[in-house]
């Protein structure tokens, strides 16, 4: 399974080991791990709760993985995203892209994260020490980041 949405934590080393087991065409593995920051707008947070849209989240992540696989020669791809209540320092998301060479793996990992951030149906709510919850606002920079992945002209290579 290339996409998992779960409450449980993940172990980056174990995920990479299982993903690449027995595959000898891989020369580069890039991983990205997103974690919970302990402060928001200068105020300490005690927890972050992630809500998601079961069914759509998985479908959207699978579409993003398929797009990446159509674009780069990837030997293995994995996206794991957690939901539920998390604490500062906890893992939120893992993206792994493996390929023969490093450029495809680096680019595919960045592509997967950029599209995940602006398309995958997750919402973060931060709780501060006073017990108040605040929904995190989407950043315009995340939507703007997609521009770098505009389809290249077909004649370029």
């Amino acid at each position: 399974m290339k996409v998992r949405v779960q409450t449980a934590d993940f172990d980056v080393g174990e995920e990479v080991r299982r993903l690449t087991l027995g595959q000898h065409d891989i020369g580069a593995v890039v991983t990205f791990t997103g974690t919970v920051r302990g402060e928001a707008k200068g105020r300490p947070i005690v927890s972050m709760t992630l809500e998601h849209y079961p069914g759509m989240t998985e479908a959207e992540l699978e579409r993003i993985v398929a797009d990446a696989e159509a674009r780069w020669p990837l030997s293995a791809t994995l996206v794991v995203h957690r939901y539920g209540e998390l604490k500062p320092g906890d893992n939120i998301v893992l993206v792994v892209a493996a390929s023969r060479h490093r450029h495809a793996a680096f680019e595919a990992a960045a592509f997967l994260m950029d599209f995940l951030k602006s398309r995958a149906t997750f919402w973060k709510k931060e709780t501060t020490a006073d017990g108040e919850g605040h929904w995190v606002d989407a950043r315009e920079a995340d939507e703007a980041a997609l521009a770098r992945w505009a389809p290249r002209p077909a004649a370029s290579d």
Binding site: Y53, W123, K124, W135
Partner: protein, 85 residues
């Protein structure tokens, strides 16, 4: 037409429920029409859709724009811009 509507994050909180089944008249043809119809259903809906540009929509688990027709939809979702990752 009968359609299932689901809400997430602060849209869900403002409306006060995770979803509902609604019966729509044929003149409710697009996502934007549905937002206008929902806004008229009570103050909690008015609060959720007060700034419609801040609410995103999906039909049958794919993102859609406000001008998308809703004919044939089984499940329509409304939610804030996503903030995962």
């Amino acid at each position: 037409m009968t359609v299932q509507i689901v809400y997430f994050a602060w849209v869900r909180e403002r409306i006060g429920k995770p979803g509902e089944t609604v019966e729509l008249a044929p003149e409710v043809a697009t996502v934007a029409d549905l937002v206008r119809w929902l806004r008229a259903q009570g103050p909690e809906y008015e609060a959720a859709f007060a700034r419609p540009e801040l609410v995103r929509a999906a039909i049958d688990r794919s993102h859609v724009k406000p001008d998308t027709p809703i004919a044939g939809a089984r499940e329509i979702a409304f939610f804030p811009p996503v903030t995962g990752g």
